[in-house]
C-alpha cells in the first residue's frame, strides 16, 4: 500500500470512509419514522457501548447456533426493532452503520471469539480459503498466503487481512464490506460467488479474523 493511501487513511479529514461513519452515527441515533426506538435507545452512546465489539466479530449466535458477522447482527437487531428500516446486505445504510460501529474498535487488537462451538465453522472457513475454485483454479491461499508481496500484473498482492472493513476502496470509489471484496476475488478467478450473507462468507470471515489476530482494527480503512 502506497504512502499516500496510508496517509489518506490516517487523516480523518482526508479519509472518505469517515463520511460513511458519520452517516452511520446519524443512523445510530435516528428514530424510525413515526417514533420508536433508535439503536441508541437501547445501546446508548456507541463510543462507550460499542467499544471493542467489532474486534470480536464474527461471534457465536445463540439463536441460529452459527457464527454471525457484524452486519448480520445489526440486521437481526433491526428485525426486532419495530419500525426499523430494512437494511439489505451491502446497502449504503448497513455499510455506514457497521462502519460507525467498527470505528469504535479502531486501534483495538482483533480478538477471535474463543467459544469452542465456533471451531468447526472456523475450520470450514480455512478449508474454503485453501480450496482452488473457478475456471482459473486458484485458491485464496495460493495468492494471499503463498505469494503475498508478489505482483499480479501491476497490483501488489496483500496478505488478505479483514481488519479494516468496511472500508473505502479507491477502485470502487466507494465503501464496501469484506464480503464485497471476497466476491471480487471469486469473480476474478471465474468462480461462482455465493450471495451476500451466505454461510460460506461468514465462515471465511471467521477464519480470516483468526488468521489476522492480533492486528488492530483499522475501520474505516482506505485501500487501493
Amino acid at each position: 500500500m502506497s504512502a499516500s493511501t496510508q496517509a489518506m487513511q490516517r487523516d480523518d479529514v482526508q479519509n472518505p470512509g469517515m463520511l460513511a461513519a458519520g452517516q452511520g452515527e446519524a443512523l445510530w441515533n435516528a428514530q424510525p419514522p413515526g417514533g420508536g426506538q433508535s439503536c441508541a435507545s437501547c445501546h446508548g452512546d456507541a463510543t462507550a457501548s460499542m467499544k471493542g465489539v467489532a474486534a470480536r466479530y464474527p461471534a457465536f449466535d445463540e439463536a441460529t447456533r452459527r457464527p454471525i458477522d457484524l452486519q448480520d447482527r445489526i440486521r437481526a437487531c433491526n428485525a426486532r426493532r419495530p419500525g426499523a428500516p430494512d437494511m439489505p446486505h451491502e446497502s449504503e445504510e448497513l455499510v455506514a452503520l457497521s462502519a460507525y460501529v467498527g470505528l469504535q474498535s479502531r486501534g483495538t487488537p482483533t480478538a477471535p471469539d474463543p467459544d469452542p462451538r465456533l471451531a468447526p465453522f472456523r475450520a470450514r472457513g480455512q478449508a474454503l480459503f485453501e480450496r482452488p475454485i473457478g475456471q482459473l483454479n486458484l485458491s485464496c491461499a495460493a495468492c494471499h498466503d503463498a505469494r503475498a508481496g508478489g505482483r499480479l500484473a501491476g497490483a501488489l498482492i496483500p496478505q488478505g487481512h479483514p481488519n479494516g472493513y468496511p472500508l473505502y476502496r479507491l477502485e470502487w470509489q466507494g465503501m464496501g464490506s469484506l464480503q464485497r471484496r471476497l466476491r471480487n476475488c471469486m469473480t476474478g478467478v471465474r468462480a461462482e460467488a455465493p450471495p451476500f450473507g451466505a454461510p460460506d462468507f461468514v465462515e471465511l470471515e471467521l477464519y480470516l479474523q483468526s488468521r489476522a489476530a492480533p492486528l488492530a482494527v483499522e475501520t474505516p480503512a482506505v485501500r487501493p
Binding site: 482452488p132 475454485i133 475456471q135 482459473l136 486458484l138 499480479l152
Partner: protein, 150 residues
C-alpha cells in the same frame, strides 16, 4: 504382455477424451501432437498472450513485451520459453499444468475436469480453444534467447 499394452493404450485414450470435442494424448512430459490440423500462428499467439482478458498470461508472467506495462512476477519470465521447452512440453503446460505440478497456480487452459465452483458462464468451457492453444505455442516457441535450436 500384448493385452497389458492394449489395456494401457486404452487408458491413455480414455483419459485424453476432452469436453471441447478435441482430444489430446499425454506422453511423458509432453503432448506431442498438435490439437488442430491448422498450424499455430505466432502473431495471433502473441496477441492472445498480451491480452489480459483472453490469455491472462501477463498477470503472472513477465516477458519480452516492451510495450506492456505492469507485468506480473508470480511465475517465470516467458523470455526463453522456446529454449526451455519443446512445443510438446509447452502444449502439456498450457492444456493442463496440473499434470506437471499438482500445486501449480497456472490455470488449465484446455481442460474442464477437476474444477470446483466454476461460474455458470464459464462452466464446461475451456479458457482457450484448441486453435488458440496452438497459436500461443507457436508464439512461445519463437521466444529464444540463444541462437541455436534446442
Amino acid at each position: 504382455m500384448a493385452r497389458a499394452i492394449l489395456f494401457l493404450a486404452t487408458l491413455v485414450l480414455a483419459s485424453s477424451a476432452h469436453a471441447d470435442g478435441g482430444r489430446y494424448e499425454v506422453l511423458g512430459d509432453e503432448i506431442p501432437k498438435p490439437l488442430t490440423d491448422q498450424p499455430g500462428d505466432p502473431a495471433r499467439g502473441r496477441a492472445i498472450v498480451v491480452d489480459r482478458r483472453k490469455g491472462l498470461c501477463l498477470l503472472c508472467h513477465s516477458g519480452p513485451f516492451p510495450e506492456e506495462r505492469f507485468q506480473g512476477d508470480l511465475a517465470p519470465s516467458l523470455e526463453g520459453a522456446g529454449d526451455r521447452n519443446t512445443p510438446g512440453a509447452l502444449r502439456l503446460r498450457l492444456v493442463d499444468s496440473r499434470r506437471v505440478n499438482t500445486d501449480t497456480i497456472m490455470p488449465p487452459y484446455f481442460e474442464t475436469t477437476g474444477l470446483h465452483r466454476v461460474a455458470p458462464e464459464f462452466r464446461d468451457k475451456t479458457i482457450l480453444n484448441a486453435q488458440e492453444i496452438e497459436d500461443v505455442i507457436a508464439f512461445l516457441a519463437t521466444l529464444k534467447t540463444t541462437g541455436g535450436s534446442r
